[in-house]
């Protein structure tokens, strides 16, 4: 019983910050039709920035997260203008390949600058555990990250639903031509969306740097999880992504807890990607929504 409660609590915590880590991937795909293969590398860069801030200046990842968001927002904006924007009207494969190349450049650049070693990012405020009676313990760092993730998700959802800019982003995702017809500057929406998503993704890397292993080639498994969650949830929806990320988080946690011997982490990964295969084969439109192509023009 206690083990189950513990597994569920871990799963929910993982699901929470997994949502933050993959949402940018889903929104960029949904709005711009670009499959950001370098998604995991933006998490990686955010984590390295947090590590640098911590080891050089002693700044807690919780506090460096916001500046990292702002810096990577600008980086995302520039990258969109200089690179993504140039290939966005070409077939999807072109932007996918470009972002794949960007991912290789990023991981190798970080390796060149910071070396290939695993980095440990310490945090004083995230040390220790919360005790839930004698049923379960929750690592304090998980709660901190989870709370911040929830705040960011609520803010993002409110932004997308309520603000004029947020509405223009949703409009562009749902029908690009109609968005232009009503006067929305689609290029600006794309640049802003890309910048915002890169900022959030790097910030998620900074926040989770105390939890996950940090090294130059840490990106791909996270990009692949983003694929799994997006396939489950459909594109660009905060709620759908939250649901699918919780599902994956719980599943991985349960498998890891109940797997025999030391097979846990491998079995969790196998489960996640088995899920991707099964989803795509059985329900190409996704479980919690659908992989809507942009410009489908309504159905």
């Amino acid at each position: 019983m206690d083990t189950l409660v513990q597994a569920l609590i871990n799963g929910i915590a993982v699901g929470g910050f997994l949502t933050l880590m993959v949402l940018g991937f889903s929104i960029i795909w949904g709005v711009m039709g670009v499959i950001n293969f370098a998604h995991g590398e933006f998490i990686m860069v955010g984590a390295y920035m947090a590590w640098f801030a911590r080891s050089e200046w002693g700044v807690e990842p919780l506090y460096s997260a916001l500046p990292i968001f702002l810096i990577m927002f600008v980086v995302g904006f520039v990258l969109q203008k200089l690179v993504v924007n140039k290939v966005i009207d070409r077939p999807h494969l072109v932007s996918l390949l470009v972002m794949f190349a960007v991912s290789i450049i990023m991981s190798n650049s970080v390796k060149l600058i910071a070396g290939a070693d695993f980095r440990r990012v310490n945090s004083d405020i995230q040390r220790g555990f919360w005790e839930l009676g004698d049923i379960a313990t929750i690592p304090r760092k998980h709660t901190v990250v989870l709370v911040v993730a929830i705040i960011v998700l609520v803010a993002l959802q409110t932004f997308l639903q309520k603000t004029r800019l947020g509405k223009s982003i949703r409009a562009a995702a749902q029908n690009r031509e109609a968005a232009q017809i009503v006067g929305i500057d689609i290029k600006w929406v794309y640049a802003f969306t890309f910048a915002l998503c890169i900022g959030i993704t790097a910030m998620s890397g900074a926040l989770t740097s105390t939890i996950i292993p940090v090294f130059p080639f840490m990106g791909p498994p996270w990009a692949l999880r983003a694929f799994v969650i997006t396939a489950l949830s459909g594109l660009g929806s905060v709620k759908g992504t939250l649901g699918a990320a919780m599902f994956l988080g719980l599943l991985e946690s349960l498998v890891a807890t109940y797997a025999p011997g030391s097979s846990g982490s491998q079995l969790a990964v196998i489960t996640a990607f088995g899920l991707l295969v099964v989803t795509l084969v059985l329900r190409p439109q996704g479980l919690f929504g659908g992989l809507r192509p942009v410009d489908a023009g309504g159905h």
Partner: protein, 254 residues
Amino acid sequence: MLGTNGNGAPGSGSRPLLEVQDIYAGYDPNVDILQGVTLHVNEGEIVCVIGPNGAGKSTVFKAVYGMLGVRKGTVLCNGRDITNIRPQDALKTAGITIVPQLRSVFSQMTVHENLELGMYLSTDKAKVAERIDYVYDLFPRLGERARQEAGTMSGGEQRMLEIGRALMWEPRLVLMDEPSAGLAPIITKSIFKAITRLNQEIGLTVLMIEQNARQGLQASHRGYVIELGRQTYDGLADDLLGNANVRRAFLGGH
């Protein structure tokens, strides 16, 4: 119907709102789909473009509002050169909006949100609310469905919503690409009726493309036939309806 009651274009001396002059445009860099199209729409007119599938009718629309580059020729609005305007500026700077051929509602937003986005360019909330009420007056059906997700409505209702959204920002000219496509005859009729009413009541200027050539021309003042990227006939709607060649090719004979 406008065409049959003997009225020609309203005030035959009224000035051209849109002038398309000898334009060339296409998708493949080496192929011009439009090869010198010339047409105009006067203030207050309904003008109907007919012609076979693939003739380039929709392409004319895309070229007019900047969705597709014009390679040669000019587009004037109110005498001002708007050739290769950016699509998002067509409404703001020229007052031109379009109801595209393919469904174009924001399908996961409510009817109300769709209409709000029609006034994306305005930040005046009171004005937006006023215009939404106006559209609900025009299409009560939309008012009944204000909170429904647009994508879940019938084809005819979605068409109504597209037209309503296009009217939000009080455009000077609405381009309608096959407003009746894929709709049941009774709904087609009500759509044409709405277009006629808007034209008579608020003087809305409309350039439409119709596959349903007879009904389209009957609802219009003037018409053009476009074939293979050029206009081949033009004239008063009544005259086109009576023209033997046009009848044989596009109006089902006799």
